[in-house]
């Protein structure tokens, strides 16, 4: 199957799904997990499974000999091995499932693949699909009133947005863990006494205005009030990481780890879905997009992921939050076993790994099998739609239902079916 055929097949499946669910007969009750929150880690650039969660025989970049860049090590699950730079996750792999057979064929451009891996489907010429975070926010709302349902720790992007669902299901975002979300955290340089003075002036001016008869104006006044509340000390406490012990903070590692720690604090505050972007290209320049020399320092990225994710699992577990919190690791696409002319790796969509952890699922270390060099799927393929259906099912969203863009029914996933082995 060439690329065009593949795209056309997936797109036809998409429209078939959109239409057929109109007349879908009542099937057995959908799978439903018990997770209440999702922490979704995004590895921007495209994480290569062969160098992380699906290691194969060693290759040699200088001799252009295809294969893993690193050694593999054993994990808590017999028969499941991971790369040597995941030593802290290895003993925890019984709480983790590396889904090794995710696949799609949109590998030419990061934007399109990022969109695919956030919306779960190819781009449409006529509709803007919501991201998985927005769908979960739409279906489940926040866990407690007054908390935002969806927070993004990373750069804002239409791909992460609510699409046709509208701003109500959008995210609050922040790019710096030392500050709260853009717009809802008070600027550091404005002292508390100045804020008091500002609010006093504002309250005085508001008191002079006639009470609005127009509902939209009342709604806006209400938004002003809520916004003052959210930007106040109570909600913004969630962002004060220095309330945590130094030891715990250190166990999470650098800025990416602090983002994961912040995600845990937001879970406790009642946020439903948090995307944590591992987008810090300080370590190797290219981030996970390890073409050419980008691969030389790739192990630092892997180690950073290892440290932060293992600390997150342990921390959540110690607070009895791991079963309630699904951790997801996704990325645009994978990378091939072969090396490019600069000794790095290109893009591969035919098989790549996304990871699930916690969330009350029945974990098995790894799911799905790829061939000797991780290029082809040998057993248990998982489409992007299936992977998304698994996330939805785990967090109690009916993955078979339709959302509506006006009159147009849009199924939550493109006919995805959850990985049944992880439930029950």
């Amino acid at each position: 199957m060439d690329r065009r055929q593949f795209i056309s097949t997936t797109a036809s499946l998409a429209s078939a799904a959109a239409l057929s669910s109109l007349s879908r007969p009542t099937l057995a009750a959908p799978l439903r997990g018990t997770a209440e929150h999702v922490i979704s880690i995004w590895l921007g650039g495209g994480m290569g499974a062969i160098d992380t969660f699906d290691p194969k025989r060693r290759g040699d970049a200088t001799k252009k000999q295809a294969g893993s860049y690193y050694e593999a090590i054993d994990t808590a699950v017999p028969g499941v091995r991971v790369c040597e730079h995941l030593p802290k996750l290895a003993p925890l792999m019984d709480r983790v499932t590396a889904v090794r057979t995710v696949n799609h064929n949109v590998i030419d451009e990061h934007a399109a693949a990022t969109n695919f891996m956030h919306t779960g489907r190819p781009v449409s010429g006529t509709i803007v699909y919501p991201s998985v975070g927005s769908v979960v926010a739409h279906e489940r709302g926040s866990v407690v009133d007054g908390a935002p349902p969806y927070v993004l720790i990373g750069y804002p992007n239409v791909t992460r947005g609510p699409g046709f669902l509208g701003a109500r299901d959008g995210y609050l975002y922040l790019t710096d863990t030392t500050q709260g979300p853009a717009g809802l955290s008070r600027p550091a340089e404005i002292t508390a006494s100045r804020f008091q003075r500002r609010e006093a002036f504002l309250a005085h001016l508001q008191a002079q205005q006639a009470a609005p008869t127009d509902a939209r104006l009342r709604d806006y006044d209400e938004a002003i009030e809520q916004s003052l509340k959210l930007s106040g000390p109570e909600f913004n406490r969630s962002f004060q990481l220095d309330e945590e012990s130094a030891e715990l903070r250190e166990s999470y590692g650098g800025e990416f780890g602090q983002r994961c720690l912040l995600a845990r604090r937001l879970i406790q505050r009642g946020v439903r879905f948090i995307e944590v972007s591992h987008n810090l290209n300080f370590l190797n320049g290219a981030g996970w997009d390890v073409h050419n020399q980008g691969i030389l320092q790739q192990h630092k990225l892997i180690q950073e992921l290892d440290t932060a994710m293992s600390a997150l699992i342990v921390d959540l577990e110690s607070r009895q939050l791991l079963d309630k919190t699904l951790i997801v690791v996704t990325t645009e696409f994978g990378r091939p076993p072969e090396f490019d002319s600069g000794g790095g790796r290109g893009h591969q969509g035919s098989a790549f790994t996304c990871v699930l952890a916690g969330g009350g699922l029945k974990h098995c270390g790894a799911y799905g099998q790829t061939d000797e060099l991780g290029k082809k799927i040998v057993a248990d393929p998982v489409s992007v739609a299936d992977f998304f259906a698994t996330i939805h099912a785990a967090v109690g969203v009916d993955y078979a239902k339709n959302l509506y863009d006006g009159d147009r029914p849009v199924p939550i996933t493109d006919m995805g079916e959850p990985i049944a082995a992880l439930f029950g």
Binding site: V123, G125, G183, L202, P212, S231
Partner: protein, 555 residues
Amino acid sequence: MPPTAAEAHEFLEEASADKRRRLIERLLDDSRWADHWTSYWQDVLAENPTMINASLNTSGPFRWFLYDSLRDNKPLDRMVTELILQRGSPHEGGSAGFGLAGNNDAPMAAKGQIIASAFLGIELQCARCHDSPYHSTKQRDLYALAAMFERKPVVVPATSRVPAAFFEKKMRESLIRVTLKPNEPVEPVWPFSEVTGSEDNDTLTSRMQRADDPREKLAALVTSPENTRFAQVIVNRVWRRLLGAGIVEPPDDWEGRQPSHPAMLDWLAKEFVAHGYDLKHVARLIMTSQVYQREAIGRNRTTTAELRFFVAPDRRRLTAEQIVDSLYAAAGQPMAVEELTFDPDGRRAASNRLTLGVPQRAWMFANLANERDRPSLNLPKARAVTDILEAFGWSGARQNPRTDRETSPNVLQPGVLANSAASVWLTRVVQDSGLAEAALNAESPEQLVDTIFLSYLSRLPSDAERRPLASALGVGFDERVLPLEEMSKPELPVPLPRVTWSNHLRSEANSIALEMEERARRGPPADPRLRVQWREVYEDVVWSVINLREFVWMP
């Protein structure tokens, strides 16, 4: 953009009976007319440039074509003709940029959908893949428009087909139908003569430069004077933008809708055509009307056509662009953000690394995503401004045409005005800014409060509003200006090396990016001539005014 304090004051003071008429004339001649309408057409025509590789329905930056056309008050039939003909540079601002659609294997079908909803009030979204279930339009209609754009017969791409299996396994009568046969070529034939009144005949071809060019024919059919629908759709869009509700609702989908005032719609459309498709003529007719000048307490948008009486205009919120432009104008600050580009040294081709210049107005901003989430490509000052724009419904990523933005209030709207980085700079009395000059020139605290109200709200404060603010500003008012010897000149930050595409992966690029973010957060320095303690009170007064509901909603 609001009038200056002086302009507002002069208008309020003036007693002559025709002061409104003269103001309307002056504003119609103002270049800001083009700024305001550019953002409208960017949405309606899905202008969607990206600074990086084309994807997700990206177009070229035909914003410059739109702005020039509006600035020159080009007759609208001519602007639409040039748009449909797709001329000039696709990547440097020509209307050819309208013809691009990244990741879209039927780009001309996408453009057909856009021009049908923008100029004819015909909704063809469903027709991409099948006949419309709730409209009379067929898949053939859309692809006939695509064929006219393409200048040759077209076939529906496989990605836009309903698989045969769907119809075979269906459990009940399907809502949708596909009347085109698979692989049937669709000819470039005008599908809308009945609904528009515009026909492909000798009269039409006699007006064309090349009678055998289907794309030119499409332009001629859309803009011909026989096309009464085109003129009506345009005047309805102008009417709606000025009064908050259309004579026909919604403006992009007329099928099965009744105009609330058919005779007026017809008259406005005929005036429009008779005056050479002059948008400003229509705007003038509406603005000088009684209904436009009444207090905005109408509720026309939410009622049915039978009950839409237009007793008064609907209340409107400022658009996202108006809010940002007003904040800059009232603070008297230049829009000092980064150049919108990831490749300032211009090594890569414009087709994949576009440079959109340094924005001077809010509509010039764009989608800032670098799609690789790389901090070294962040543009932190521009991002701070788009935070405000996005909270109020603007989006730089316009994948689909859009007539209406979301206007429902959310916490981020007051949030970004109260707390965001850009609101910190814009409520700061920055060196040499309008706010600084106003403070230095103020004769009394009362007069300064008046100036703030005129600049931000275009009205004078009531006595009750003025009193406590003026008394707070009165403390230390006479000593507010520092003597020269106490003044310390703010230190200019060291210029940073330029991060560009070819060096953005180096680790130095990241430290520069971090420093840029820190500088963006700090913003420009305050005016050293004013005593800090007094200046902060003044800034807090300004803050309270922009955080009033009245700043973003028409009173």
